[in-house]
Symmetry: C2
Subunit: 369 residues, 2 copies
């Protein structure tokens, strides 16, 4: 009988962070693509766009004028998905199967830089460090509000990821309840911390109160195994997770110790974090020589004041979900089977990690010609 070959044989992998399976069909990249081709993100933008509502000195949608800011800047979203409280209580459910609860909080926009034509991949490490400091500030400011139970920092980058303005920016949504996905992750992290061996098999550091941490253990193991590692930067490791769904999905995790949130980072850890973000986004742009689209999100302790079991079990990490698969204009569609049955990917995480690992880290726009 032939041996099992993960690059040839369809198989399912398990994601212990979400408790979900994913189908891997690596031989599938061989099929020709006759479907939708998106415009590649290769257009050169102006440094300042008079029509952009995020450029310094321009008017926001609300009419308010932006200052002549010179570094990262945060302001409340003019079209927030979540509103300030207090909200009236929801009426009794019309049927036990039909329940609803009000959600309050707020939405912020974090402009990364005054220049319209830059992205994380083109900022200096120093400029990225300022963004990390700003994320930390907002996490604390919003998270200290008594009604806020969760702060989600994220970035939609690129038109094909629903971003409506290329000016470099991210968002922060703060809510009065812990959303579905981080709640699931936290509950699995708590379960692991209670049930895992007290001597982590990989020799990873233990979490708070000496409890094992799934992410510390996982990242530590990957660091040794190397196959799915894109790069290491100080204590940070960039991994294509064993259970990655998106073609070039990456998880960025600190591995030196259990770190529950941005607030725990030392200046040194912040600096290597900025370097890691710079390296990863440069590699991404170099993959298909375009401004690489993705959704990025930071998962951590829900708020600085959540001191319970779930708060302690949280381990800071970032997810990057990029849609491109074959080229700057051909993406992976997570549709049909994926929406109705199970996530499915067309190349193995190991193949994706190898490609990213071997890419240069000088941005293609900065190459000497």
């Amino acid at each position: 009988a032939p041996e099992f070959d993960p690059t040839e044989h369809p198989h399912r992998r398990y994601n212990p962070l979400l408790g979900e399976h994913i189908l891997v069909s690596p031989h599938r990249t061989k099929r020709p693509w006759l479907g939708q081709v998106d415009p590649p993100a290769t257009e050169k933008l102006q440094e300042y766009d008079p029509k952009c509502y995020l450029c310094p000195g321009n008017s926001r949608s609300s009419g308010e004028v932006l200052p002549q800011y010179t570094e990262t800047l945060t302001f409340p979203n003019d079209f927030p998905a979540i509103l300030d409280g207090p909200l009236p209580a929801a009426p009794a459910p019309p049927h036990p199967l039909l329940t609803a609860e009000p959600v309050q909080g707020g939405c912020d926009v974090v402009i990364f830089h005054p220049r319209h034509d830059l992205t994380l991949a083109l900022l200096t490490v120093g400029e990225i460090e300022k963004i990390i400091v700003e994320w930390t500030r907002i996490y604390v400011k919003r998270g200290m509000h008594p009604e806020v139970k969760y702060v989600q920092i994220f970035e939609n980058k690129g038109a094909i990821m629903g971003c409506s303005n290329p000016h470099p920016h991210g968002q922060v949504w703060s809510l009065s309840s812990i959303p579905q996905i981080p709640a699931t992750e936290l509950s699995n992290l708590v379960k692991y911390s209670l049930g895992a061996p007290a001597d982590p098999p990989s020799g990873a550091p233990l979490g708070d109160q000496g409890k094992p941490c799934m992410l510390c253990e996982y990242a530590h193991f990957e660091r040794g195994a190397k196959e799915r590692v894109v790069f290491e930067e100080g204590p940070w490791v960039a991994i294509v997770p064993w259970w990655a769904v998106w073609p070039f999905e990456v998880m960025l995790v600190p591995t030196n110790r259990h770190i529950t949130s941005l607030l725990d980072l030392t200046p040194d850890e912040r600096n290597t974090f900025a370097k890691a973000l710079s390296r990863l986004t440069k590699k991404y742009d170099n993959l298909f020589r375009c401004s690489f689209a993705y959704s990025m999100g930071i998962h951590q302790r829900p708020t600085p004041t959540q001191l319970d079991e779930a708060g302690e079990a949280a381990h800071l990490h970032l997810h990057f979900d990029p849609p491109l698969l074959r080229s700057a204009s051909v993406r992976k569609f997570l549709v049909g089977f994926e929406l109705m049955a199970e996530a499915q990917r067309d190349l193995t995480p190991e193949q994706a990690a190898k490609r990213l690992r071997e890419l240069p880290e000088v941005h293609y726009l900065d190459e000497e010609s």
Copy 2:
């Protein structure tokens, strides 16, 4: 204090079928859209396309020539995501957190009709009935294979949903394990059947062995409440579910009795099912006067031979997940917050149901001019 208004106040709803929450931010449709605009699906196609690998008499990717078929036709996918077994067993996991199992089975393509330019919305009820018979035949044929544990019938319609050929067709993927989403649904259906009151509050029919069925109960309640009903067709009801994620998501369910699979349908139920599919897809096309994109999937008893608790608890239903939100070219992007935190929608399910309900059922291309 003001009263809670679901069309003004952000809130979360609960989906008992998947055990997940979704964030509803109805005031958000007021924001202007400056993001990606997709090409609208309004192009007129030819009845026969010499380059289409699904048109009668043309060559498939494998080189094989398609017969001069005159109605629905099924053949194995030339680039299947799942392969015939037997496959070698997966090696022992390199770490307890990194597990994998081989998956075998097969993938079929179901051509709906020889005409290249038609879609479900433009077929006759008789032609749709033939597709239902064909789906049933494949469900039985694939599902009777001893290695197959699950058969997923689905359709990706439209280029923006990753469909690479407009020739009307769907797919059937058969697998040696039950995929993530149906497995979750089944486990919630089983839990409900064991824990719910023996006298269903809405007066819905009981399931097999006199057990309550969540979907029977839910659909029965919605039929009475009317607010989220798009239309009724004999025993079938088309609902925008209380927990819908996609802007105009619809669930199609039979409500007369507990029906576990396509195989249980009487000729009459099959006929009204075809009528319901025709009405729904016509309304969809009329919403933005374009060939409306969606992913559709059939959930039912995993295979005809799964006779255990989960097999009995299954209730046949279809999900339609369409991406368009504002017009034929502006879709909802489920990105950033949705990928990192929680599904989020911009109009209430009740608002979506009202718009669909009020749409004419004569296809816009068939209007008298």
